[in-house]
């Protein structure tokens, strides 16, 4: 039974990647920016036509679109994503190295916002209508309306500029070789970007969890539990937590798309050398191979999140799980 599901999912992933590849390639074609100008960047005025022809030939930029797509797709299938024009290195290498840098940021923010959002949501629901609930809801609504990059700016201004507690930018202290940076220094630099991403991530999770928890507290089985004498902490621990956690987990895995968007902005403000920053650079300087690589990679990243979410959901929720195990009453 499980193998069938995996095959189905792999099929869907393949179809999705093909779709994204075609759509993104078409988008790149539409761009009025001449790839050669973008590649050369500022010195474009000083290179002659022969050099332009040389660059075009080296990066295969002079073929008709369909042929270039065929070439690109062919190389893609062989695992070669081409060379990044701004880093002058294979796209796969750039993505891998940059993603590892972003991973620390994404993981901490993902875990932190998940736990805090879940806790605050349940607290607000259990104390519905009280000042605590109103405060949490007001805070979550305000954060949800705040632009991520502005929150980053706010933290940067207060903690780095005014108080000087945290570094102004980058992942490792400026001036020393990143390899030599100690763990503490890396964490110190990770503090503000992760704080930004977590703060912004908490808001939607809190609101969704609160909504779900209120629904559960109104349910029949909570009424029966209360009729058995369950109340307060016992009710939360025995009946509420799991019933809210199951949909919350699904939502948590589905939030990777929004999370990566936040990372792009946080990395831009704190000049953090992650995949988000290179996405922006690729967009600004027209690095088409890197952009395409990132689009495909992040699709994979989001799809993996959703798949993991479904797998965990199947394990945690017996109603779904029994479908796979074929249990019949």
């Amino acid at each position: 039974m499980a193998v069938g599901l995996l095959a189905g999912r792999a099929g869907r992933l393949a179809l999705l990647l093909v779709g994204v590849a075609v759509a993104c390639f078409a988008l790149m074609e539409l761009s009025p920016v001449d790839p050669i100008d973008a590649y050369v960047g500022a010195e474009v005025t000083r290179i002659g036509p022969e050099q332009r022809a040389l660059i075009a030939e080296r990066f295969g930029l002079d073929e008709p679109p369909l042929v270039r797509f065929g070439l690109w797709a062919g190389r893609l299938l062989r695992g070669d994503l081409g060379t990044s024009t701004i880093y002058n290195a294979p796209v796969i290498g750039v993505i891998a190295q940059r993603f590892v840098a972003s991973l620390a940021l994404l993981a901490t923010a993902w875990a932190l916002s998940g736990l805090l959002g879940f806790g605050l949501g349940i607290l607000a629901a259990v104390k519905r209508g009280s000042p605590v609930d109103r405060a949490i809801r007001w805070w979550a609504y305000t954060l949800a309306s705040a632009p991520t990059f502005w929150v980053a700016l706010l933290l940067l201004t207060t903690f780095s500029v005014t108080l000087g507690w945290t570094p102004v930018c980058c992942a490792t202290p400026v001036g020393i070789d990143p390899a030599d940076a100690t763990l503490w220094q890396r964490l110190h630099h990770l503090l503000l970007p992760a704080a930004t991403l977590s703060l912004v991530g908490i808001a939607p999770i809190t609101l969704h969890t609160r909504e779900q928890a209120i629904e559960i507290l109104r349910s029949d089985f909570v009424t029966f539990a209360r009729a058995q004498g369950e109340h307060g902490r016992g009710l939360v621990r025995h009946r509420l937590l799991r019933n809210v956690a199951v949909p919350a987990l699904l939502l948590q895995f589905a939030s990777l798309s929004e999370l990566f968007g936040g990372a792009v902005l946080a990395e831009a403000v704190f000049n953090y050398p992650g995949l988000g920053q290179s996405t922006v650079q690729a967009g600004l300087r027209g690095d088409v191979p890197l952009l395409l690589g990132i689009a495909l990679f992040t699709t994979l990243f989001v799809f993996a999140g959703n798949t993991l979410g479904d797998v965990v959901h199947g394990i945690v929720d017996p109603r779904v799980g029994s479908l796979h195990r074929g249990a019949r009453p």
Binding site: R218, F224, A227, G229, N243, P329
Partner: protein, 309 residues
């Protein structure tokens, strides 16, 4: 003095409508009811008329937008919030209607064990197993999830879980719908057994015939109040022994007793008439009926809320 006595009890809700309208639902108005130890009293009325809320009110598990009025006394003393919290699950038990009252993500055995834990038994796991055995549920049932139970099995699991603390007052809410007739008989037999063993049992149902088969007294619920509380014996023949016109009409509408329908419909909870609630359908109506709500008075063995009974 009866174990549970409900006097002039009223229950209303405030609901919000699309747009600006807010409306008040007077679901229960002026309800009087008494249930004694060792007695099974049935509260009979059409489904969705608010009867289940009476059980939820007694236990104090009403939703927040409910407003209660009147007095409920248990064991001689008023049943206030503190006593409700203390007695819930231990002395007063609710047997709910359907499998939706069980936690979908927890095995039924674990839920029964938690109920035993709340009652304060020394060995919750053991108590749960005994309760399941009492309702002859195999031990494999304990490992199942609610959605894996058949109708009859869910019925027995609900009863076992609710009565782990050997309660003195049992409130059974609509236990009969959707079940095979044999399972209904078995379920009602179980309630009868609890009453015979000294518990006070309130059976809430829309099924008049089944109620008459098993109850000692029947309280007929109409538009939010009990119009008559009659002994089961009164429900015989063509219903001559029944005092209230609505009860008689109810009895005579049954397929076995003439199947004669009484025209009209119950007044909606948002728009209750001032006087007796049955005025617009009552064959015996007189002008005084419209002035004030008739008080409940004793006529033969029945408690009747009708000036012409």
């Amino acid at each position: 003095m009866s174990l549970l006595s409900v006097e002039g009890f009223s229950l209303s809700f405030v609901q919000y409508e699309t747009g600006l309208r807010r409306r008040r639902l007077e679901v229960i108005t002026d309800l009087d009811l008494e249930v004694d130890a060792g007695e099974l009293v049935a509260v009979v009325g059409s489904s969705g008329s608010g009867k289940s809320l009476l059980a939820h009110a007694i236990l104090g598990v009403l939703p927040s937008n409910a407003a209660e009025g009147g007095r409920i006394a248990y064991d001689g003393a008023p049943l206030d919030a503190a006593r409700r919290t203390a007695l819930r699950g231990r002395e007063i038990a609710l047997i709910p209607q359907s499998v939706t009252f069980l936690d979908p993500l927890a095995r039924v055995g674990a839920q029964a064990q938690r109920a035993a834990d709340l009652v304060g038994v020394t060995d919750p796991a053991g108590a749960a197993r005994t309760a399941f055995r009492r309702l002859d549920l195999g031990h494999s049932v304990a490992d199942r999830y609610p959605h894996e139970l058949s109708g009859g099995m869910a019925r027995r699991v609900l009863t076992a879980t609710a009565t782990i603390g050997i309660p003195r007052l049992v409130l059974a809410d609509e236990p009969t719908p959707g079940l095979h007739p044999a399972v209904v008989t078995e379920t009602l037999g179980g309630l009868r057994l609890m009453a015979d063993r000294g518990a006070a049992v309130m059976l809430i149902t829309h099924d008049l015939l089944r109620a008459v088969e098993v109850a000692d007294r029947i309280a007929v619920f109409y538009a939010g109040t009990t119009v008559e509380v009659a002994p089961a014996a009164a429900f015989t023949g063509d219903g001559a022994a029944l005092r209230h016109p609505y009860t008689r009409a109810l009895w005579q509408a049954l397929p076995q007793h003439g199947f004669t329908p009484l025209p009209g419909a119950q007044p909606p909870p948002t728009d209750l008439p001032p006087g007796c609630l049955f005025t617009d359908r009552c064959p015996l109506v007189v002008p005084e009926c419209r002035q004030a709500r008739p008080a409940a008075r004793q006529v033969d063995q029945s408690l009747v809320r009708c000036i012409r009974a």
